[in-house]
């Protein structure tokens, strides 16, 4: 790894900043610097967003207060898909270019993605009972989101089941890439088929069909979740880097300090 980053730095200044992300030691420093501030921003956004969403925003004309679960449900569902995308792409980069850091990013994102998927499923189910009249129905949107949870769990299981790190990364990267096909299915399921789940409110062409006073807290929560994701990912990446590079000089220096 170190020889590769040394070689690449001689190729030209233009790529210098980019190749730093291939060096575990540099990425460790980067993650240590940014994880905390990003986490603080996420916490502030959570406080503001939850207050705006649960107290300030008006109730819905049909559902009353139970609609407020969207402030958790929609960002979770978005991040469940975004995490999968990040995981599959970085696992794919690891597969093609054999960049260790990239494999570790995929590994550190996977449990977060599984958590967001689980949150989206549970909050949706709790909202479904009073609104639809049932906790669960096997429609295309709910089923494809459940498949996403299984993909995350499968990825985590596979990458931990194989002893050799490189073989584990390669096998689980293929699984992650194959599962990528599920993302468009989840997103378009409500358009392609008749589903009980409603269509898109915010991410559709034209004006979002949600009142501005409800949209603003939703957007704040959306950013809160994204910042939280970034911060938690960097914290997890630090651990992955330390455990992967435990025999190298730079980790020994950190441990001895």
């Amino acid at each position: 790894m170190t020889t590769e980053s040394l070689n690449s730095s001689s190729r030209g200044k233009k790529w210098l900043w980019f190749h730093r992300f291939g060096s575990p030691a540099w990425v460790y420093g980067f993650a240590s610097r940014w994880a905390m501030p990003i986490g603080v921003v996420a916490l502030l956004l959570f406080v503001v967003g939850l207050y705006q969403g649960l107290v300030v925003a008006p109730p819905d004309y049909q559902m009353g207060d139970s609609y407020r679960i969207i402030f958790i449900h929609v960002p979770s569902a978005w991040l469940s898909m975004f995490s999968y995308f990040v995981m599959a792409v970085s696992a794919g980069i690891g597969l093609v270019w054999h960049i260790k850091v990239s494999d570790l990013v995929a590994r550190s994102v996977a449990p977060l993605g599984a958590m967001f998927t689980f949150c989206a499923l549970v909050t949706g189910s709790l909202w479904g009972k009073p609104t639809w009249g049932t906790y669960w129905v096997w429609d295309a949107r709910l089923t494809s989101e459940l498949v996403l949870l299984f993909l995350f769990i499968g990825y985590i299981a596979l990458s931990n089941a194989i002893e050799d790190r490189r073989t584990a990364s390669r096998a689980s990267a293929v699984l992650a890439l194959v599962g990528l096909i599920n993302l468009p299915i989840i997103h378009f399921s409500v358009e392609w088929w008749n589903t009980l789940h409603q269509g898109a409110t915010v991410t559709k062409l034209g004006r979002p069909s949600i009142d501005t006073r409800m949209l603003i807290p939703l957007l704040i929560m959306f950013f809160a979740f994204n910042f939280y994701f970034l911060s938690a990912m960097l914290y997890r990446l630090r651990c992955e880097l330390l455990s992967q590079e435990r025999r190298t000089q730079w980790v020994r220096e950190i441990v001895n300090d």
């Binding site: 819905d60 009249g133 088929w193 409603q198």
Partner: protein, 151 residues
């Protein structure tokens, strides 16, 4: 990029294309099974299965809901704006059930009527506070009355 990396990238591209193709074919073949419900038009066209339980989805026709005075039985018409099916149900309805609401119901066709075992309300993608909804309704009513007077 080294030839080896290029080859691996190409292989991943091929893998993704093949998987997308296979899934697209499978989903097209399963199209009808993935739809959660049949529409009244599909029933009129004879696409819904006979003598088995299936789901029917549509909007409750305004003014069609008839409740029984003695028990929980209810009858209403469902439409997809083209065809209408009469639904009979006995039991507790979800909170969101009302005239003009989209619903999904499980049951079977008997003597030309849909006998429901379960009624689920379908929520649309619109979220608004009560006063906005009232204002919209008022605006619609005003439009309607001006049209009436114009005629």
């Amino acid at each position: 990029m080294t030839p080896k990396r290029k080859q691996r990238l190409l292989l991943i591209g091929l893998l993704l294309t093949a998987v997308s193709g296979a899934v697209a074919l499978a989903l097209t073949a399963l199209n009808q099974n993935i739809n959660l419900f049949y529409s009244p038009s599909q029933i009129a066209a004879g696409e819904a299965p006979d003598n088995t339980t299936f789901r029917l989805g549509g909007m409750v026709v305004e003014g069609s809901v008839k409740r029984s005075d003695t028990d929980l039985s209810i009858a209403f018409d469902l439409t997809d704006t083209a065809k209408v099916v009469t639904v009979r149900y006995t039991g507790i309805l979800p909170d969101l059930f009302r005239e003009g609401q989209g619903i999904v119901t499980t049951g079977s066709i008997q003597n030309g009527e849909f006998i429901a075992q379960q009624v689920l309300a379908k929520h649309d993608e619109n979220y608004m506070p009560p006063e906005v909804s009232a204002a919209l309704k008022q605006a619609n009513a005003d439009n309607y009355s001006t049209e009436q007077t114009a005629q």
